[in-house]
Subunit: 373 residues, 2 copies
């Protein structure tokens, strides 16, 4: 299918250095995707994202369906023109909102009744509706509509989620092909149960998807369980298609994902922690709000080329946070996004130079304490 081309350029163990060709441009992998839920990455313009070499962002079908609504998106000929971002976009299907917005929810074989977090109105989301939404948004990569069970609900519910996800994957794929030639990824469920993951993989991988995702991980389970499942599942996923881990942003998690063959990941991590004052650097993380930075004239990271580090001191940014001036959050968001993009570049370089395992070791050492993001 010409809506997505994928090449694996080089391998080191299971880790892959690849390239995805999409409608709105080329994405070098492994790649981190910042999240822009409401048609914007919080606090920064598309201009700032581009300046910091963001290749692809993630946005949310369900949220954009509620607001501004499909009539508005249609008027703008899709999400790209609406938010003025001309590089690739991946949209999630609403499946994760079925997991995260439990109030007033009812799951049937046909779809899910889900309550709007904005006004409490009820909406019945089916795989077909999710495809209609994502076709209207015009994203480069559409996600199949899945059912992500809560790991706390146990084995039987996870088994149900695998079965429903398979049914809905088929309906998603069929319906999207009727209305659009966008690329679409299938999602593998099964929580932390190897047999369920294997079942899901076998069922999903045989369908004509352009890529495959691991869903239902990084949703509250211990980090060890996440890694165990990625080790089990990652290398089994189709070699010739991009592999996407849904939700992962902390550098120490990302190197483990890549080591197990993952090509893409997304998270609110850099933008959310920045709003809470956390600076992420090659030397680890620190909270800029600490009194120890009050008189500090140095930038967040002296070797960083981002706008924030080229211009502002820790002492100044700390002052802005202290006075609850949003400019502090803006400056830190710029730095943290820049860091994660530079992290991606160095990671890809290490794969090109066959030094990935060394790179991974270095990151793990610096980020010993997990973020759980």
């Amino acid at each position: 299918m010409d809506s997505l081309g994928f090449e694996v350029l080089r391998k080191e163990g299971h880790a892959r250095r690849g390239r995805i060709h999409l409608t709105h441009g080329v994405v070098e992998t492994p790649t981190f995707m910042p999240v822009g839920t409401n048609a914007n990455v919080k606090l920064v313009t598309p201009h700032v994202l581009k300046e910091n070499n963001v290749q692809i962002i993630l946005s949310n079908a369900f949220h954009l369906y509620l607001k501004p609504g499909l009539d508005v998106i249609r008027q703008f000929n899709g999400l790209h023109e609406f938010m003025r971002w001309d590089r690739p976009i991946l949209t999630d299907s609403g499946g994760f909102q079925v997991f995260s917005l439990k109030r007033g929810q009812k799951i049937t074989d046909d779809g899910v009744w889900i309550m709007s977090p904005i006004d409490g109105s009820k909406h019945f989301i089916t795989p077909e509706l999710s495809m209609e939404i994502q076709a209207t948004l015009g994203s480069d990569i559409v996600m199949a509509f899945d059912y992500c069970a809560d790991p706390k609900d146990g084995y039987e519910e996870s088994k149900k989620s695998v079965k429903l996800t398979t049914k809905w994957a088929k309906r998603s794929l069929e319906h999207l092909r009727d209305i659009s030639n966008q690329a679409i990824f299938g999602i593998i469920q099964g929580a932390i149960y190897e047999d369920l993951r294997e079942m899901s993989l076998n069922e999903i991988a045989q369908m004509e998807f352009n890529g495959f995702a691991m869903g239902g991980l990084s949703v509250g389970e211990p980090r060890k369980e996440t890694i165990k499942m990625v080790e089990f599942l990652g290398p089994k996923m189709p070699e010739d298609k991009p592999r996407y881990f849904m939700g992962g942003g902390s550098p120490d998690l990302l190197v483990d994902l890549v080591a197990n063959g993952v090509d893409m990941f997304d998270s609110v991590f850099p933008t959310r922690v920045a709003r809470h004052g956390l600076a992420v650097t090659w030397n680890g993380k620190f909270n800029i709000r600490s009194a120890r930075y009050k008189y500090d004239k140095t930038p967040i990271d002296e070797n960083c080329n981002c706008y924030t580090c080229q211009n502002f001191s820790r002492g100044y940014i700390r002052h802005l946070f202290d006075r609850q001036e949003v400019l502090g959050q803006i400056l830190l968001t710029i730095h943290d996004i820049h860091f994660l993009m530079e992290f991606g570049e160095k990671l890809r370089e290490s794969l090109e130079n066959s030094t990935f395992e060394m790179f991974r070791g270095g990151i793990k050492k610096v980020y010993e304490k997990n973020f759980d993001c």
Copy 2:
């Protein structure tokens, strides 16, 4: 005094086209000064201010004295380096905070007990302390410490404010000259009483200030009273020194100020109204939050060259406000600052071409309804 040079380049009636030479650069007048209370203009970087041709900003001695405190400012060798703004800064003296922060306040002949709005701590601000603060900040223009009475408190309190303001002006000037060669402006008080204003003018204007300001206006009195007082006072102020109206941002007010010989004004106007969704344009103002803009693909102003208008639609910005995404406030702040700067340019052009009265008439027609900002 070489800390400030002032030339009147051209006149039309009382209106003046001038130029102020300051330590950190040249300011073309009449000029609008955006407000950066806590060492930042809310939501925008110094880079954005410069892109939009901001010449000079205002900051606040009292707020910066409380936070980050003079020890921090000293560590950074002043406010310019701290906030990374290398163009001129005017600092107010804390006098206006004596007006606006009444709780726990006590005024003596020597100074004012004033309560911190941050933590309730009490501070005794004297003219000498205000000068110490502003010398530490290193602003291009220091304001004398004044007492701005509430017009509601009546004639006697206003008379007291005039007398105290004169005493404190003398002490401000003497103390600043002992410690710094910064430019300093005297402030004329007297509320809405012509005899008090005249008394204050006579006392303040005979001191060796580098410029003169009208204080205690635009503080809640009807717009008519403001204008009446400016008409009375403006043309009487020294011809060879800059004249500064403290607090004025709405275009229809600004043209009336300029018509009466005012050269400088400041206000939170463009930044505050932007945060509430108000777009200011050559065709008037409108609230972007209105449902009527939901499907609107046009920019705020099709003829505007600002980053926001060059890139984003009303429909998109409305969506961001609707979803309480701060990026909406950021984009509108950029536009509104740009507009006020362009307004200043066109205003100066009209003075150069002797078409100011026509310009003024046009603005008054568009901005019939007052803003009270």
